[in-house]
């Protein structure tokens, strides 16, 4: 059993997911976790699948789609152990005028505090830049100090930033 990490990027049109999923299914590869979305109009698929096929076989099969116009990468990856997070999850939201370095600066602040970004989405709409990030913060991190640091760096960048606790309702 091998696990493959696959990315597919290309011109969006109806049916790409169906075709790519059919290729994987025909090769006996089980599509596990995936994220498929449009990024500035480009279709972008990132996924992990598992089965007996090798990376070269899958890459060749996916490259037959859309007359070879899709950018495809397939790499074999090792199983990652699932480690439980220690601490709490926060949602960081940022919006403001677009400029270079917003993600780099703010992600660096999070990393310096020991925070682990587990999900991040950015959208550029005209001149408005929006960033949403879910961050696991360890119990040992001083959350107020991190919030203050994010506020300082956001002010330097001229963007608004909030960081709030994401709570689960256990039912």
């Amino acid at each position: 059993m091998t696990s493959l990490a696959i990315t597919v990027v290309g011109h969006d049109r109806p049916g790409i997911i169906a075709q790519a999923a059919e290729v994987l299914s025909d090769c006996g590869m089980n599509l596990e976790d995936s994220s498929m979305t449009l990024l500035r109009g480009h279709f972008a698929m990132t996924l992990i699948c598992a089965g007996e096929a090798d990376a070269d076989q899958i890459e060749a099969a996916l490259q037959t789609l859309e007359n070879g116009s899709l950018d495809v990468t397939v790499r074999e990856v090792a199983e990652e152990p699932h480690l439980p997070a220690l601490g709490s999850t926060y949602l960081v939201t940022v919006h403001g005028a677009d400029r270079l370095g917003i993600v780099a600066r703010l992600a660096a602040v999070v990393a310096e505090a020991g925070g682990n970004i587990t999900d991040l989405t950015t959208r550029l709409s005209g001149t408005l830049y929006v960033l949403l990030a879910e961050v696991d913060i360890p119990q040992s991190t001083n959350v107020e100090a991190l919030q203050a640091r994010l506020a300082d760096v956001s002010a330097e960048l001229g963007v608004d930033c909030t960081m709030r606790l994401l709570e689960n309702d256990e039912l």
């Binding site: 439980p84 997070a85 220690l86 601490g87 256990e170 039912l171």
Partner: protein, 185 residues
Amino acid sequence: MSLTLPTLPEGRVLDVVRAPSHVLSVPGSLVDPADPSIAQLAADLVATMRVSPGCVGLAAPQVGISAQAFCVDVSGHPKTRTSHGLIVLVNAEVLDTSRNEKGREGCMSVPDLTGDVKRATKITVAGQLPLSGERVLISTDAFEARAMLHEIDHCNGMLFLDRVTSAHAVHPRKVYLEAGENPGQ
């Protein structure tokens, strides 16, 4: 505000069914509240909820029985405003809802995922008490409302996964450990 519940038999702790399981996806049958097996089911739901850490509600399909019965107890939860203490209802239906709010829900039957679900924060529910069959109306809010709506969904064969707010609204569950606790346990 507590409900006056009939005295139920001794409850047994049952195994909780996890998705994918057919029983979680079919509407439960209406039940006869006077049927002794339903009183036993109600007691079993309460007993199973009580031994499950963090559990504030359980519905019959979650113990493998496709029936309209559930229990809820949000007493002492920090998000609770109105609380009726232990609630055990059969054949419940939602009469009125208002003021939707989004929350991220976890469920014992879907243990590794959470999902963002919009639910009413003010509700009125009608149902019957086990054994006596007395019809009761419960108006509540906040966390008790969310818990009751979640359990009534179970009774109707629905999971929170059927109600998530977007294609990006299901998340891997984070397991938070106390400091010093061994992640392997």
